[in-house]
Amino acid sequence: MDRFLYLTFDGLSRGAIYAAFALALVLIWRAARIVNFAQGAMAVAAAYAGYSVTNATGSYWLGFITAVAGGLLLGAAVERVVMRFVDHSSPLNGVVVALGLVLIIQGVLGMIYGNEFRPAQAPFSRDAFQIGGVALLSRYDLFVFAAVGTVVALLTLLFTRTPTGLRMRAAAFAPDVSRLLGVPVGGMLTLGWALAAAVGSLAGMLVVPTELGLHPNAMDLLFISAFTAAVLGGLDSPVGAVVGGLVVGLLLAYVSGYLGATVAPMAVLILLVVVLLGRPDGLFSKAKARTA
């Protein structure tokens, strides 16, 4: 039972990170109808920027802010310089360009930083508290919950309580109608990419201290897990992304804990295949209602 409780809290902590990353994927899907396969590479680029600043200044938090802000700028740049010029008549075009970006970003990072793992520090202890003799949560886990919770709350406020959020949603639902109503659709798209990349970078910064360290391919498993979470919840559903992230986190924790860590990636892929075969629209998708 102690082990089950530990694995549950560990899974929820990992799941919160997957939820944030899945949320980034959902934001771009809703805005541009593109699965941003470059999200992982963009997050790792932002994490390297943060890593450089931390190394130069000795301040983790300066590096953390740099990574999130760098992700914001990188997301905006990718939309304005690359994605805006992609012919969207076929959904495959955006995917191919995103995959090309992965190769470019990872190649450039490899040339600059090398391909060895670089240990990344955590801002708080990762040793779990003992509650009633049971190891449950670490300070770092609490930081992860607080960071992801804050992001989810801020995004919810943005999309439901502000004119900008309303216009971002409108631009995603019906661009031409939005233009007629004075919505700068291009600007909303750029903002959507920027926000998504910033959230993805945050997730990247949160996951790196829990892994072997920073590496050009460090976000590959995070991407697969978060993509599975987004598909599970429904690519159209931010709530689904959060729930999907927590479910995938728990699944990975239980499989790693009871069957071994080497089986975990396979479990994610099996879940992805099951979801795609059984319920490709996801558990929370409103796609049918939107096209009615």
């Binding site: 949603r169 031409d176 939005s178 007629l180 004075g182």
Partner: protein, 197 residues
């Protein structure tokens, strides 16, 4: 603006809105050259509805109307005012997809009116509506305090609400005049019936 199917009525609307580029001619607003761009229309006080219904089905009726209103604290008040004027304020919290077609058309009208435009462009607003709804629409057009540009096939509605009618055929204007003048125009009858009446 009337004319047979394919005459170019909606295309002209699209040119005015910046969704299509004119091959010749020029557009002027208030006597000045006007380069239309869709997302700048609302700044010029122009609002447009589309054929059918063009709504954000994942957003509530109130949110749909709020999108078209610019800044300020009174935005929600203006949205409710427009919804009330169109008789759909009771559906403010509903999703458009859950409403009957006629109510969705009213929501679209409310969204266009909420921005208090000085020019309201209505593209076949009577399409798919029953006679009761068309009577309501006619009353709205008569009483709305703004210039209305109307593209419509429903002749009773056109003749009852328009001060001036432009008739298009194969992309060319063939007549311009009051409802009475258009009714007796041979070119117009020929365009619609294929032969002179």
């Amino acid at each position: 603006m009337i004319g047979p199917n394919g005459a170019g009525k909606t295309t002209l609307f699209n040119v005015i809105c910046g969704f299509a580029v004119a091959q010749s001619g020029a557009i002027a607003l208030d006597g000045k050259p006007f380069r239309p761009r869709p997302h700048h229309l609302s700044r010029h006080g122009i609002a447009r509805t589309l054929q059918g219904v063009g709504q954000f089905n994942g957003m509530t009726v109130l949110e749909n109307v709020l999108v078209g209103i610019r800044g300020g604290r009174a935005t929600e008040e203006a949205a409710y005012e427009a919804l009330e004027r169109c008789g759909v304020s009771e559906f403010a919290g509903a999703y458009p997809a859950s409403l009957p077609y006629a109510k969705r058309k009213r929501v679209e009208l409310a969204r266009a009116l909420a921005s208090r435009p000085r020019i309201l462009m209505l593209d076949e607003p009577a399409g798919g509506l029953d006679s009761e709804e068309i009577d309501w629409l006619a009353e709205l057009i008569r009483t709305v305090e703004t210039t209305v540009l109307l593209v419509e096939h429903h002749m009773d509605l056109v003749m009852s609400v328009c001060d001036e009618i432009l008739v298009l055929d194969f992309g060319k204007p063939i007549a311009l005049g009051s409802p009475g003048e258009i009714r007796g125009n041979e070119k117009v009858a020929e365009a619609y019936l294929g032969t002179a009446a």
